[in-house]
């Protein structure tokens, strides 16, 4: 009895698969004989009335209706393409030189005209928007002026970040073995800064990361050897957790 049920089910699944292929791969919708398929569906549904067969039958019927829609569209498009056969086009392509092919395209091609550069109008609008923006706090402005006035300001910031990275790596190295990422980030100081600096160390390969896919736990440790291979995966973490 179970075998009798299984065969129509497999047949229906096969039908759904074929019809789905026609839709997804845009194959010729007339490659399937819809009328014989519908007769077969009727036979199956008259013989098997269990829930699974009925739902598979409904799914098949839906796929058939999609293919019928594709057939209608196919006929409409064939009519608009003057019923010119792909085989004929193939022979024309093989028998023509590139210049003739281009000339054929040029008869039908009307490229889009588009402006890709900034216009005076857009520049003026941008300038007006800039002027309309409120002036930022004087402290911020002074800091900007200070940085602009001192060429070595950038180098100073860079060396400060480098030393902070070094300190953080030394702190991690002092812990033997793997440590939980969140424990380390929350250990002391500003956790946002620590997480930010840690992301650099991880990107540079100076810190190893291990993620437990089941529990979601993230473990880190100081890398024994810095790998030269480029990092191929990325890990996004929300600091505000």
């Amino acid at each position: 009895m179970s075998r009798v049920v299984r065969i129509p089910r497999e047949e229906l699944i096969r039908m759904i698969s074929i019809l789905g292929e026609i839709e997804s791969r845009r194959l010729d919708p007339f490659s399937v004989d819809v009328s014989s398929l519908l007769s077969r569906l009727r036979e199956i549904i008259e013989r098997e009335r269990d829930v699974e067969t009925i739902s598979l039958d409904a799914e098949t019927l839906y796929r058939v209706s999609v293919v019928l829609g594709l057939q209608q569209r196919w006929i409409r498009e064939r009519a608009s393409s003057l019923f010119i056969d792909a085989g004929m086009i193939y022979s024309k392509i093989v028998g023509s030189d590139p210049k003739s092919l281009v000339a054929a395209l040029l008869q039908a091609w009307r490229p889009i005209v588009r402006l890709e550069q900034i216009s005076v109008d857009l520049l003026l609008r941008g300038y007006q928007h800039f002027l309309s923006r409120p002036t930022r706090g004087s402290a911020g402005l002074e800091a900007v002026q200070l940085a602009v006035g001192r060429p070595s300001a950038y180098e100073a910031i860079e060396s400060q970040i480098s030393s902070e990275l070094g300190e953080l790596l030394a702190e991690l190295s002092s812990i033997s073995g793997w440590v939980r990422y969140w424990d380390f980030v929350n250990m002391r100081g500003n956790r946002k800064d620590r997480a930010y600096l840690l992301s650099y160390l991880i990107s540079r390969g100076e810190v190893d990361v291990r993620v437990n896919a089941l529990s979601g736990e993230i473990w880190i440790r100081s890398a024994e050897r810095v790998s030269d291979e480029p990092r191929t995966t990325s890990l996004a973490l929300t600091i505000g957790r």
């Binding site: 056969d85 003739s100 889009i112």
Partner: protein
């Protein structure tokens, strides 16, 4: 039409051109509802006037209906400005495409259109390999897909892209291919047109 009304129309047409030509979207052109918002509900009339004006300089407005809406739904249609006259072979050098790339585009589009817009990529590549080496074909198809002339799917299907729908007259292309009976006939004709164009300038 009074001088004042004419002035308003001129201003609206200038706004329409700016919207269509310099749209800040990733895709060129502009939707009807965007034109309606800037130009008012009489925007189809303004677009008609703009079209007449553009024709004088070899351009025209092309309205492409949204495939999911009907041709009547102008709000969802996309408006472009396209060339109104065919290009000549001598113009090809300034288009940024090589002759081979355009030949590949031409053959691929004609083949796809004859197959109702899509085919397996393998089949298209094999067809093009009768003319060009595989690496050349694949590089050209990649570039043409990036430009929007073709769509490629992970299932290995290649179909016509949005830009083809806007820029290429399907029936005109198929007719041109049908008339490719004698080798080089169309190219000779195009060259003659090109020579005539140059003479007249």
């Amino acid at each position: 039409m009074s001088g004042e009304e004419l002035g308003k129309l001129e201003k609206k047409m200038a706004q329409a051109v700016a919207l269509i030509l310099a749209s800040g979207h990733r895709l060129p052109g502009v939707r009807g509802w965007e034109l309606r918002r800037r130009l008012g509900k009489s925007f189809p009339k303004i677009i008609n006037s703009l079209d007449s004006r553009l024709k004088q300089i070899g351009l025209r407005v092309k309205v492409v209906p949204d495939p999911e809406a009907g041709p009547e739904d102008l709000d969802r249609a996309r408006f472009y400005i396209v060339l109104s006259d065919p290009l000549t072979l001598s113009d090809v050098q300034t288009l940024g495409y090589s002759l081979d790339e355009l030949a590949i585009l031409s053959a691929t589009l004609a083949y796809l259109l004859a197959k109702n817009g899509s085919s397996s990529e393998k089949e298209v590549v094999e067809m093009l390999e009768t003319k060009y080496p595989r690496w050349r074909v694949e590089a050209a198809l990649e570039r043409l897909a990036r430009r929007g002339y073709l769509n490629r799917t992970e299932e290995g299907v290649i179909s016509i892209g949005w830009r083809t729908l806007v820029e290429v007259d399907k029936q005109e292309l198929l007719k041109a291919f049908a008339s490719l009976s004698t080798e080089g006939a169309v190219s000779q004709e195009a060259e003659e047109n090109s020579a005539e164009g140059e003479d007249s300038t």
